[in-house]
Structure formats: C-alpha cells, structure tokens
C-alpha cells in the first residue's frame, strides 16, 4: 500500500483520518506506562507519591542508572539472563525445527495425538509444576545453576516454538520440496537447503518469542535458583523489600532489563516482516 498521495475519495480520506486516530490512540496506550516508568526512574523522593502526579522530575538522577547497572545484586543477574536466554533459544530451536517439520510433512501415525499432547501440556498451569520442578532440578543436581534454569525453559519453549513454526512451514509449497526429493536429495538436505531458508522469518519469530519468554520469566526462575543463577527479572524485583521499596532503583533496573528485549524485538521484527512480504506466494 503506498500512501504518499492523499486519497481523493471521501471514504478513503475518512479512513486516513481514522488511521491516524488509531495510530495515536494505540501508540499512546502502549507507550505511556513505559514512559511513566522511565520518568519515575529519574525521580527522587518525594516525587514518587506526589499528588497530583509529577510528570517531569525536578532533578533527574541519571547516575542512578550507572549505580543500578553495576549493583552487586543486579549485574550478575543481567549476565545470567544473557547466557540463559541465548542458550535456551538456540537449543529450543534445534529441537523444534525438525519436530515441526516432521509434524507438518511426514505421514506419521499418532500425529494428531502428538499435536494435541503438546497443546495439553501448555494448558497445564505452570504453578502446578513449581513444587515438582524444584525436586526435579535438585535430582539432576542443577539447583541454583544456569542449567537448572535453562532446562525447564527449553521444555517451556518447545510447545511455543512448535506452534509458531508449524504454521510457517505449512506456507512453504510442497512442490518445491517434492521437486528436490525427486532430484535425489535426502529429507534432511531438503530441510536444510530448501525449507529452512524459506521459513527464516518463522524461525526468527520463534527465536524472538522464546528469547523474550526466557528473558522475562520470573516464577520458575525464582523456584529453581537460590542466588548464584538468578535471572534479571528477579534482579529487578529485588529492589522491592519487605519493608521498603526503592522506586528509583526498581524502575531504573526495569528499564535496563527491558532494553535488550526491545532491541532484539525491533531487529527480529524487521526480519520477519521483510521475509513475509518476500516469501508470500498464495494462489
């Protein structure tokens, strides 16, 4: 859709106005709570509880970001999260890509059962697992260990990844693969050389989803760690104590923790959109 020329038909012009209303309304809705958090991170007492609310801090405290970033109970959690989220994403993708491909292309007995099983597993409230997960993780000797966090996250990410990838793989025309098979290529080669490049946007989407889930997850990480393997979300929440809340530090930490995800999302999002527009062949 090109939009540089103004629309001539009244209904088109009306829809243009509607578009801008939509842009501003939804954009503001998404942005304002986050902006408020950023502004709060620069405020100081008593601005946090001022009524009417203070929008711009009188003396913005930028140094707080530096203090928080290097805080002894925050920086290690940042580092842990980077490792955890990255490894989780890579391993989950490695497991999920062949599985999704098999689900879509192979005539397996029990295909529907497997699909439904994955869905049913997702329907289990994660809260039920906490107690058993604690025991499991200790059993494998990975309590308060990065792998103790990664392993449950992989299990969490697999149903997600399968559901995202199956729809993308479906959109790859079967004819391309069949042509390659006839030419004598092995199934695995077909997967590698034909399907993978065409589903790259789907893989990027799955990678993004898994990464964000692993980065932001809280309850499971809290259950399987003590202090050494804590992830960044726990690090942020630690600025809230039982008796006092450090609002400035809390919001600064939250902003810092959200930045990698925002950047990752923006980059991956462009990949996904570009890939989709390029690869769409329907009808």
């Amino acid at each position: 859709m090109k939009g540089s020329k103004g629309p001539a038909i009244p209904s088109e012009r009306a829809s243009r106005v509607l578009l801008w209303v939509g842009i501003l309304a939804t954009g503001a809705f998404y942005l304002v709570p986050y902006l408020w958090m950023v502004l709060t991170s620069l405020k100081s007492n008593p601005e946090f509880y001022a009524s009417p609310p203070v929008v711009f801090p009188a003396n913005p405290d930028f140094f707080r970001y530096v203090n928080v970033f290097f805080a002894s109970n925050f920086f290690p959690t940042l580092r842990n999260s980077v490792i955890v989220a990255t490894i989780t994403t890579l391993v989950t993708l490695a497991a999920v890509i062949p599985a999704s491909y098999a689900l879509v292309r192979f005539q397996m007995r029990g295909r529907t059962t497997l699909l439904l099983l994955f869905l049913a597993l997702m329907l289990f409230p994660p809260i039920s697992f906490l107690g058993y997960l604690f025991t499991l993780v200790r059993f494998f000797g990975v309590f308060d260990n990065i792998f103790g966090v990664i392993l449950p996250y992989i299990a969490l990410g697999i149903p997600l990844g399968i559901w995202v990838l199956t729809s993308f793989i479906k959109s790859v025309p079967v004819e391309l693969e069949e042509a390659a098979l006839v030419d004598g290529a092995g199934r695995f080669e077909v997967l590698r050389k034909i399907v993978l490049p065409l589903t790259a946007p789907g893989i990027a989407a799955a990678a993004l989803i898994i990464f964000i889930t692993a980065w932001n997850e809280f309850t499971i990480a809290l259950t399987v760690t003590l202090y050494a393997a804590r992830t960044v979300t726990i690090g942020v929440v630690l600025f809230m104590g039982l008796y006092t809340i450090n609002w400035g530090e809390l919001t600064s930490a939250a902003v810092i923790a959200s930045l990698p995800v925002v950047i990752a999302a923006i980059i991956a999002q462009r990949l996904i959109v570009r890939g989709l527009t390029a690869g769409a062949v329907k009808g």
Binding site: M108, P125, T219, M240
Partner: protein, 299 residues
C-alpha cells in the same frame, strides 16, 4: 526389510529431542500432579495420613468449596473479557501497522514495548498507576470527568472497576504479541487481492470484512489461543495488582491454585485443582483447537 522399519521410525527421530525435554520437565511433573490428586498430602503437617490413597476425596473437598466456584467465575470473566479486548486491540494495531505512513518504524517499536517488559515488573508499574492520589489513571479519569476526587476514589476497591483494571493491564501486556501474529497474516495477503477488490468498487470496510478478515482467521485463532492460555494460567498481573482483592472479587483460578499450593500446602487438593483446570481449559478451547488442528494438518 530393515530399511522399511527404519523408514517408519525415522520421522520420530526428528521428534526425539523435543519430546525428550518436554517429557522430563513438563510431562512428568504434569503426571505427578494428576497422580497426587488421589492422595492426601499436607506438606507442612507431619501427619501419618500423608501419602495415603484417598480416591476422589480431594475432588469432593474442592467441589464443595465456595471460594473455588468464585475463582471459576472470576476466571471466566477475566479470561473471556481479556481475549475479547486483546482481539480488538491487536486487530486494530495490526491493521494500523500494516499501512504505510511516516513514522511507521517508530510505531512498530512502540507496539513491542509492553511485550518487552517482564510481567511482574509491568504489573507493579500498572498497580502504581491505578492508585489514588499519585496514580496517573485516577487523574486521567478526573480530567475526563468520570471521577470527582482523584485523591479519594480508589478503583481497586470496587470489584467491577478492579476487574476492569486488571483486564486493561492484561490487554496491554498481551495484545502486542497477537498483533505481531496478525501483522504477519496481513502481510501474507498479496496486494493484488486488494487491487482487484478496489477495481470491483469495494470500499475499505467491505474490503476488510469480506477479504481481510476471512484470510486472517487462522492467525486470529493462534493468537487468541495463546492469549487465552496466558490469561487463564498466569497469575502475575492479578497477584501483584490486587492480590485477588477487594476481598476475593478478583481471585482467578490460577491465583487460588497458587494459594492452595503454597499457603495451605495441601498438595492433594491442589493436584485435583490443577487437573480440573486442565480439563476445564481443554473443554473451553476444544472448538478452537479442532478448527486449528484441521487447518494445520491440511496436507
């Protein structure tokens, strides 16, 4: 002959790693949960009755609990309203993001922001926004003329308003993800389709209803499935903002489940509760699943 057997097993090899992880860390605890529902277990009481088989006693206790039914009702209201709100907001967002306009990249970045912030952190921020006196929302309502005194009106102490507040936060948090899925769906509709429709004289609304919407249905299904799943099983938003209050007016099923597990430490009844929740979720989503699976398996 060995080759034929291998051919049959071969596809399952593709599945093996995924199945392995899922089996150990998800399937096994899930089975343990269901198994536990038939036994008596109070983790913090060293009673000789612990680990005794009690058949359906835990289910009987659960089904005679008024608070349990209260949580089901709250869950239904919360989940269905959230899914509806998410559907509307994500659809509008995706349609907007699909158009070309100046600043589209910035807009697309804005969409991703709620998704980028962790649940507990975002909920803490929204809780702060909902408070009277220093919370932005009250002053917005005051400015709109809906509230007479932003210092004394506390929406979180009114059951309906509190539920609405939670739903809005949930919509804010989940709509971006669904919008992204829908955007992908929109992008996969070729421009020629729209051109052809325009040539045929179809206005924007007609184009949307008869062309866009039907083609988006599978994407909508997936998106809302995820949204419903999250709304139905994740407690972070309710836990942080109202803790289920005022009283129990916003206590949803997973929140009460958490309390049965880790306040009452009754793992038997909690197991029954978990099993019930899964069956309940499966039943309520069975229509959606069926159509989705049919679409996915169309070979």
């Amino acid at each position: 002959m060995a080759k034929a057997r291998y051919e049959r097993v071969y596809p399952y090899l593709y599945f093996f790693p995924a199945l392995f992880f899922a089996a150990i860390f998800v399937l096994f605890p899930a089975l343990q949960t269901v198994y536990a529902s038939f036994f008596y277990l109070r983790v913090n009481v060293p009673s000789p009755q612990n680990y005794m088989f009690v058949g359906f006693e835990n289910y009987r206790i659960l089904f005679s609990d008024q608070r349990f039914y209260n949580s089901i009702m709250n869950s239904l209201i919360y989940t269905l309203s959230s899914v509806f709100g998410i559907f509307l907001l994500s659809l509008i967002t995706a349609l907007v993001a699909n158009e070309s306009f100046r600043g589209r990249t910035i807009y697309r970045a804005c969409i991703l922001i709620p998704w980028a912030v962790a649940n507990v952190v975002a909920s803490q921020q929204w809780k702060y926004l909902y408070q009277p006196g220093f919370g932005l929302v009250n002053w917005l309502l005051y400015w709109l003329g809906l509230v007479s005194d932003p210092n004394t009106y506390n929406l979180l102490t009114h059951p309906t308003a509190a539920m609405l507040g939670l739903i809005i936060t949930n919509v804010w948090k989940s709509a971006p993800f669904v919008a992204l899925i829908l955007l992908g769906g929109l992008q996969s509709i070729p421009d020629d389709f729209y051109e052809a429709a325009k040539v045929d004289g179809a206005g924007p609304w007609r184009r949307f209803r008869s062309l866009t919407l039907p083609l988006l249905v599978p994407y909508i299904n997936i998106g809302l499935l995820f949204a419903g799943l999250v709304a139905g099983t994740v407690i972070d938003i309710v836990y942080v903002i109202t803790q289920g209050g005022p009283g129990n007016a916003t206590e949803v099923m997973p929140l009460y489940l958490y309390r049965v597990y880790f306040w009452s430490w009754d793992f038997g009844v909690a197991g029954a509760f978990s099993t019930f929740m899964v069956v309940f979720s499966i039943l309520t989503m069975i229509l959606l699943i069926r159509s989705l699976v049919k679409y996915l398996l169309k070979a």
